[in-house]
């Protein structure tokens, strides 16, 4: 039996064992954004500390950025203050900043990979729970709080306990109309929103390695919704092809050396795990959430569960979900009317997501009364999509084409639900109030499913119109 990739990467980055029993873990790449970092810089100032490795922290702005009108100063003075704060902090501490005036700005989990900053066998931390996204490259990547951002800035390390590793083996081939988003929603529904506590998830198997890098990022991104702080995929040729030629990736001879090194670190067939969960991709169907957490998801052909179908410890949250959503046990999700359609976010705001949604929308119009918008995950995604003419497909169908940012995924910007609106959303969380209205409702699904819902004005099985 041999170590898995997680253990190997962890060990390489262990500075030493601390008295508390935790490991001091070196963080190879630190990403920051405007919302969770200002207090960390303030703590550095209060303590007279400097940033130990300013060359290993990179910054962007995403959460508060308006997507319709990005001219400065922002109309929201609080958002403008946060922008000025990150501009000041990155300037003062010598950190590279991909702000709105650059062509590299975007959601932190989208720009890291597209700039080649995210690489296999790195440790990556960011003050954002969806940092697990970067695990798609075979990195150990996880979200941290602001006090831990302070630690990384000041020491480039964190005090951390090594989690267990669960291999999630996804065999078989995904049927048409079923996507990475459906795989991860199925996994969370099966293992629970707390099932991953204490674990890193290694996604493995034929269906995972058949996915594009974007698809793998979607899966790793939502690991945290299943309670797992870390999710990763072993690097393979697709990983290397994606990285080759990117701005911060190694080049020439160094790339060849890196590739050999990365391959050697990947979990082998004899790798050991603390737990294994197996899933058959060929049995999957498009998924949609019916409730108020990402685990409350069903196949599009299923019905909302009855309390009696659920384990005891899920019934109280299910009742809350019926009450909040205004749905009933045994209802089908198919046919539920929607008000808003959102395509974007760190989960599904990448070029392949936009291509799949555009494929559904080509030659179609969204239903009357639906508010629909596409928010590319980064300026580079937007540029690529525009080069392919995708923006025209979206606009032709009645979608608004916006600037890069987190948008209505978490509604820290002007994009919000109004009242009890229902949003078909390609994002990651359907928590109560998440999309900016305390009474608003969110249905999570793949970008193609969002496009199909927008066309019909109600939840639709994308396989029937694809």
């Amino acid at each position: 039996m041999a170590d898995n990739l997680f253990s190997r990467v962890w060990d390489i980055h262990t500075v030493k064992k601390l008295d508390s029993g935790q490991d001091q873990l070196f963080i190879g790449l630190h990403l920051i954004h405007e919302v969770t970092s200002p207090q960390a810089f303030q703590m550095l100032r209060e303590r007279g500390l400097r940033v130990l490795r300013p060359d290993r922290t990179f910054a962007t702005v995403d959460h508060i950025v308006p997507t319709a009108d990005q001219t400065r100063p922002f109309s929201d003075p609080l958002a403008e203050e946060m922008m000025q704060e990150i501009e000041k902090n990155t300037e003062e501490f010598g950190i590279e900043f991909f702000g709105l005036s650059t062509d590299k700005q975007g959601i932190v989990h989208i720009i890291g990979p597209e700039l080649g900053l995210t690489q296999p066998a790195m440790t990556i931390a960011c003050g954002d729970s969806h940092t697990s996204t970067h695990g798609a490259f075979g990195a150990i990547a996880f979200g941290i709080g602001t006090s831990q951002i302070r630690d990384v800035l000041a020491t480039q390390t964190l005090a951390f306990s090594k989690p267990k590793v669960r291999k999630i083996q996804v065999n078989g081939t995904l049927p048409p109309g079923v996507y990475a988003k459906d795989i991860i929603l199925r996994i969370i529904a099966d293992l629970g929103v707390n099932g991953g506590i204490g674990y890193a998830y290694e996604y493995n198997g034929e269906a995972i390695h058949a996915l594009s890098m974007e698809g793998r990022m979607t899966i790793c991104n939502m690991s945290i919704e299943g309670g797992a702080r870390v999710g990763y995929v072993n690097p393979d040729e697709k990983t290397f092809d994606y990285l080759s030629g990117r701005r911060y990736a190694p080049s020439g001879e160094a790339f060849a050396r890196a590739k050999r090194y990365w391959k050697d670190l990947a979990s082998g067939l004899d790798a050991e795990y603390d737990d294994v969960y197996t899933l058959d991709a060929s049995s999957l169907v498009p998924m949609v959430t019916w409730g108020i957490n990402p685990g409350q998801a069903i196949g599009i052909d299923a019905r909302i569960p009855n309390l009696s179908d659920l384990p005891d410890d899920q019934r109280e949250v299910a009742q809350k979900a019926y009450d909040h959503m205004g749905f009933h046990a045994s209802d089908a999700m198919i046919g539920k009317e929607i008000d808003v359609a959102f395509i974007g976010s760190c989960t599904n705001g990448r070029i392949s997501d936009l291509r799949e949604a555009a494929r559904i929308l080509e030659g179609r119009r969204i239903a009357k009364g639906i508010r629909a918008f596409v928010v590319p995950g980064s300026k580079q995604v937007a540029t690529q999509a525009e080069a392919e003419g995708l923006h025209e497909v979206f606009q032709g169908a009645g979608f608004e084409w916006r600037g890069a940012g987190c948008s209505i995924c978490l509604a820290m910007n002007p994009d919000k639900l109004d009242g009890r609106e229902i949003c078909a959303s390609s994002s990651n969380r359907n928590f109560v109030g998440r999309q900016g209205s305390p009474t608003g409702r969110t249905l999570l699904m793949s970008p193609a499913m969002v496009a199909a819902a927008a066309v019909n004005g109600r939840v639709t099985d994308v396989r029937e119109i694809a």
């Binding site: 980055h13 262990t14 500075v15 008295d19 508390s20 029993g21 935790q22 001091q24 070196f26 190879g28 969770t36 200002p38 207090q39 303030q42 303590r47 500390l49 130990l52 508060i64 609080l78 203050e81 690489q119 790195m122 003050g127 729970s129 996880f142 979200g143 709080g145 602001t146 006090s147 831990q148 630690d151 000041a154 020491t155 480039q156 005090a159 306990s161 989690p163 929103v193 707390n194 506590i197 204490g198 702080r229 190694p250 160094a254 050396r257 890196a258 090194y261 957490n293 410890d313 109280e316 949250v317 978490l410 509604a411 820290m412 969380r429 928590f431 109560v432 109030g433 305390p438 009474t439």
Partner: protein
């Protein structure tokens, strides 16, 4: 700022907030995170489950006078799931919470609590339920958490609790604010960096 203070125990009265999977968006809605300090976040703790859209008080323990002044929060399973926002435990702390008792915590949330010097301890479902009931029946019930003995006292009852050893020892040693501990071995940090192929252009391979 209270740096390097050892946390050996927490005493006070408690406030139960029942429910599984209470996420950080509920603990503090994102719109209150448009701030550059954590000051003043206490009043926004549980904002949208405490007040409706018109500012009318909803039925929530944080609105109940009988729990005013409580310093120990009691919760159920997977508390603090979702976003990594430290604003969530910061809001609770600024409301007055000094320790949390629960069935389980989301990992990032528990890490944030520890980094702020707030113990997050766990007990089984039945015990937590029974503690919630005692406190709801008598909000004046004295609650005491002894980290060194791993003992929880609720009124006249005593329980053993669980907590990751690393978190417990960091709180007891006063090293929960980890920056100075981590920086103590700065040469080791640089030595580790020199071993990492990606920081040396993969030259040694």
């Amino acid at each position: 700022m209270d740096i390097q203070a050892a946390v050996h125990s927490v005493q006070g009265t408690a406030i139960p907030v029942p429910g599984n999977d209470i996420d950080t968006d509920q603990i503090i809605p994102a719109r209150y995170m448009k701030v550059v300090t954590f000051d003043g976040l206490g009043e926004f703790a549980f904002r949208d489950v405490r007040w409706d859209g018109d500012g009318r008080a909803l039925d929530h323990p944080f609105n109940e006078e009988r729990f005013a002044g409580a310093s120990v929060l009691i919760v159920n399973r997977n508390f603090g799931c979702g976003s990594s926002r430290e604003h969530a435990p910061q809001a609770l702390m600024r409301w007055g919470i000094r320790a949390i008792i629960g069935e389980s915590f989301a990992e990032i949330f528990a890490g944030n609590c520890t980094a702020m010097g707030i113990p997050a301890i766990t007990l089984d479902h039945e015990t937590v339920k029974s503690i919630m009931e005692s406190v709801a029946a008598d909000p004046a019930t004295a609650v005491s958490i002894d980290l060194r003995a791993k003992r929880l006292v609720v009124g006249s009852r005593e329980f053993d609790f669980a907590m990751p050893d690393a978190y417990r020892s960091a709180l007891i040693a006063g090293s929960w604010d980890s920056t100075s501990v981590l920086l103590a071995g700065v040469d080791d940090i640089h030595a580790c960096a020199e071993r990492l192929p990606y920081l040396t252009d993969f030259a040694a391979l």
